[in-house]
Amino acid sequence: MRYEAPQSIDDAVRLLAAGAGAHVLAGGTDLLVKLRAEMVEPEVIVDIKRIAGMKEITAEGGGWRIGAAVSGAEMSEHAGLAASWPGVVEAAALIGSTQVQGRATLAGNLCNASPAADSVPAMVAAGAVARIAGPKGMRDLAVIDVPKSPGKTALEPGEFIASVFLPARGERSGDAYLRFIPRTEMDIAVVGCGVALSLDAGGKVSAARVALGAVGPKVILVEAAAETIRGRTLDEAALADLAAACSAAATPIDDKRGTVDFRRHVSGVLARRAAVIAEARAKGEKA
């Protein structure tokens, strides 16, 4: 195995495109676990942290571009980003321990393609777009289209995610992400739910995106859930409908972390709770 730390995107792409056995290293919090378990045996590891811009969070068109090597801790410490997309930042902040926060990245969480990735439902709810560097140059792909199935992404050989873009947050808008874990920390999500919504001047939901994690082979954007609350005030009846739509949309499995029944039920519970937080944020309340 070789270790390379290219200084430019082009050099990184060249290394990645040279053979099938290349792996991208950003935070490394998934890759090093797989290396140790001998689940992957790369010929070359391409550390992208020394490429200019990879560790930066930059304002762009009212939104934020987050470099692929920005850690969760760096996101949490960025006041502007945290004010715009608190749900995404909190989702990233839920990944692992303080120690893992020092390294783990949004792009890595996305590329790991785990159905239970915490940041992915939040990014999907936020309408995030990944910028992908590759042999053919740069391309943008909606975050929801990046994971294909457990462990598989839409990235072509030689490609890597260079940044994630979070669009401008609209007026009277807010987002939230909640997950269920058995302990209070250090677990993989049994269910995750991201909600981003906008309110009209009257306080009714004008737009919404609701995404579920860990209840299907990949993140689920629950259009029916968004549909059911659009045009409504988030009263008890609307929240109950939202919860029911999410429970219905979940397609979970039984495994060591939870059961089908539990995950379906909790999908609704979390959607309801996340929507309440997102609504409060949209109203400018502290939540």
Binding site: R36, F180, E185, M186, I188, T259, V266
Partner: protein, 749 residues
């Protein structure tokens, strides 16, 4: 050895204070050397190949490709060990599989190589041909006739005919007439309780460094709870004389019973013997979980009858424990301890020891008792609540006391159960208000505590400071306790004594650090060693003064003439006597070797408040208080630490920890990610109340405290969760899906 000055409280000077531990600085600076921190010149890395099957016949092992790999210095399989004595045969088989691999992760071969990378590669070159057999990991399934049988011919004469060969033995305890007692009850609760297998979860994986020469002499450095046990076991397996194998205990990063046997050590010695080089082996966390010694999973029937005033009229439990791939689950301990806190006219327990395709259970803190207490204390709680009675009062009414004939046979001397219950009843926690979705639970627990073979040497240096050598690894601050007891006895300051853990060449046999025995038994031997040294120092002073040695006594760190008739001499301090040691016959020391008896049983009552989220079934521990009898707390901070640590291990067991096997017997969660031990943010502070009912079998009244603290929490939490959730929880862990399902099924069931 009996309690000194029975009937009045001794005025201690050092015991009962909270000095800094002697190994503190090493452990906060990273200097302390644990198992994996030991190195030797020229050492190789040893690694183990493990079975991917839960149950399989090993048809062939071909290591020729691995042996040919450059950098590989030795390959070991079971064939290298040959025949071993019967008393270590199961241990041997567990360290390296023979005819069959009996669980997922069972060792089948090992290599030593000049780097970890080469060793890893070599393992993949070893070809093992398996014939996969049906497997069984559940205790009830393993008992069914027709279940795949692990061993032929191991069933003991205690088992009735016709049962599965996986049922190894049956035990029965108790007295009275259960049926007659049940007839007098106003209500009888009959339930089946189940607990999952849990792991001790020590943070330090097993590690050792072995070096063995062609002359048969060997040295082994190892993290273990008992290096004398390691010596004796390895010597038997390798056909060595015990005196030729010197074992040195490293610092130990947690054990809780899990390091009371061997896993890597005989293999490391064999690799070293074959390679002619030192070999270091360190387990990964995955190996620790797959292939060391978790505790038993259990299935327990309980039937208890109670009168409406709260009096228990009859109590019965049938306990089924699977202890993994070899006989010896802790079901006997569970059967003996199940009803130990109670004074019962009619009581009976029946225990079944069952083997399954899981790693062989090792001891885990009060082995066997927490599961039994979970079942019994849950049933008592249900009965008390059914009658609208206060669960503490019910326990006080039925509680064991001095003179009670225990359910396992003997009559108790002075014990502290009722003191813990009374302290619980008087504590503000008991009366504190609870909110919505919150519940409070209490439960009692018992543990036997042990003594056993123990050696201590105490040496007085020429400048009058003192070294204590003992043979039990210090797992939670025992060097501090020994230092305190030596200082107390000698009448000198704590900082004038230093205690070390001696290697196996330096002391006689020492029983393992287990059974909560160290502060009791090693403490007792330390006190006796100090007394022997004092006698010698009095004799030296008598020589100097020219008086009879009987006319000299030791007080406050000095020899003094005993009474006016002995003559008028100024006291000779320990330092003054040490200074003339050479002039008066030679170095001064005291030592004591004993099979220590008289360990006092210990009881605890735990109280816990929880909140259950009605939407998710998630449980939060809000408040926790431990009430336990310590006999005499030598270093109260470390007694509190034992109480707190045991309670939190119990919290993990109750709520989240479990071994999860798939249908093929493959462990699904061999890592700290999904084997979920409690993290700091899961917990509140753990309050402690130390009771001191002196143990009549120890000069200072000390009782072991380490194990009892894990016995009550499973039931206390189950009782609290059941109250909060409004439904009786009878299976551990009480994971959120299980609680939510129970709550959703409430009323329907």
């Amino acid at each position: 050895m009996a309690l000194d000055q029975t009937g009045k409280t001794r005025d201690f000077k050092v015991v009962g204070t909270r000095p800094n531990r002697p190994d503190g600085i090493d452990k906060v600076t990273g200097r302390a050397r644990f198992g994996a921190d030991i190195v030797a010149p020229g050492m190789l890395t040893g690694r183990i190949l493990r079975s991917p099957h839960a149950h399989a016949r090993i048809l062939r092992i071909d290591a020729s490709k691995a042996e040919a790999l450059p950098g590989v210095k030795a390959v070991v399989t079971r064939a290298d060990f040959g025949d071993v004595p019967d008393h270590v045969a199961d241990i041997m088989d567990n360290c390296m599989a023979g005819a069959k691999a009996l669980y997922d992760g069972h060792a089948v071969a090992a290599v030593a190589a000049n780097s970890a990378a080469v060793a890893r590669k070599a393992l993949r070159l070893i070809e093992v041909e398996y014939e996969v057999l049906p497997s069984v990991t559940d205790v009830d399934a393993a008992m069914r006739p027709g279940a795949s049988v692990l061993h032929e011919g191991r069933q003991q004469e205690t088992v009735p005919g016709g049962m599965s060969g996986n049922v190894i033995s049956r035990v029965e305890f108790g007295h009275g007439d259960i049926e007659a007692g049940l007839k007098r009850a106003d209500r009888v609760v009959t339930r089946i309780y189940r607990t999952a297998a849990t792991h001790q979860g020590y943070i330090e994986p097993h590690a050792c460094l072995a070096t063995m020469g062609p002359d048969g002499q060997a040295d082994l450095w190892v993290c273990t709870q008992g290096h004398y046990m390691v010596r004796n076991t390895c010597a038997a397996i390798l056909g060595m004389e015990q005196g030729q194998l010197r074992v040195t205990a490293s610092e130990i990063g947690g054990g809780f019973g899990g390091k009371t046997t061997v896993f890597l050590e005989p293999v490391a010695l064999m690799l070293s013997r074959k390679a002619g080089r030192p070999v270091k082996m360190v387990m990964s966390r995955t190996e620790v979980l797959r292939a060391t010694g978790p505790t038993a999973s259990t299935s327990i029937d309980v039937k208890i009858g109670m009168r409406k005033d709260g009096k228990i009229t009859a109590a019965f439990a049938e306990l089924r424990y699977q202890g993994g791939a070899y006989p010896g689950s802790p079901v006997d301990m569970g059967s003996m301890s199940a009803f130990a806190p109670y004074d019962l006219e009619n009581v009976k327990t029946v225990g079944w020891d069952v083997v399954t395709n899981r790693p062989k259970a090792a001891a885990y803190r009060a082995p066997g008792a927490p599961m039994a207490a979970f079942a019994v204390e849950s049933a008592i709680d249900e009965l008390a609540k059914g009658f609208g009675l206060d669960p503490l009062e019910v326990r006080l009414m039925n509680g064991a006391d001095k003179g009670t004939r225990a359910s396992y046979g003997p009559t108790y001397p002075a014990i502290g159960l009722k003191a813990t219950l009374e302290a619980a009843r008087a504590h503000p926690h008991w009366k504190a208000p609870l909110g919505e979705n919150q519940g409070r639970g209490v439960a009692c627990g018992f543990w036997f505590n042990f003594g056993g073979d123990t050696c201590v040497s105490l040496n007085v240096t020429p400048d009058g400071t003192v070294n204590v050598s003992e043979g039990n690894p210090d797992i939670g601050g025992s060097r501090a306790s020994m230092t305190m007891m030596a200082a107390e006895e000698l009448g000198i300051p704590y900082d004038q004594v230093r205690t070390i853990i001696a290697d196996t060449g330096s002391l006689g046999q020492n029983e393992v650090t287990d059974g909560s025995r160290v502060t009791f038994a090693v403490g007792l031997a330390t006190i006796e060693a100090a007394r022997a040294a004092k006698r010698e120092m009095c004799r030296r002073a008598a020589m100097v003064w020219g008086i009879d040695e009987d006319a000299v006594e030791w007080e406050d760190g000095a020899a003094r003439p005993a009474g006016p008739n002995a003559g008028k001499f100024p006291p000779m301090t320990l330092k003054e006597i040490a200074a003339i040691a050479s002039n008066s016959g030679g170095p001064i020391a005291g030592h004591h070797e004993v099979n220590a008896e008289g360990a006092g049983v210990s009881f605890a009552t735990h109280m816990v408040d929880v909140e259950v989220d009605p939407d998710t079934g998630a449980t939060r521990i809000l408040r926790y208080t431990v009430f336990q009898d310590a006999g005499k707390a030598v270093h109260p901070s470390y007694v509190e630490g034992q109480f707190q640590g045991g309670a939190v291990q119990g919290i993990g067991w109750a709520l989240n920890e479990e071994y999860i096997y798939d249908k093929d017997g493959i462990l699904q969660n061999p890592g700290f990610l999904d084997y979920r031990i409690p993290v700091a943010s899961d917990l509140p502070m753990i309050d402690t109340v130390i009771l001191e009912i002196p143990n009549p079998g120890h000069p200072y009244g000390v009782r072991g405290v380490g194990e009892t603290s894990i016995v009550p929490p499973l039931a206390a939490i189950a009782n609290a969760v059941s109250a909060a959730a409004g439904v009786r929880m009878v299976q551990l862990p009480m994971s959120p899906p299980r609680i939510l399902a129970a709550m959703q099924g409430r009323g329907r069931a």
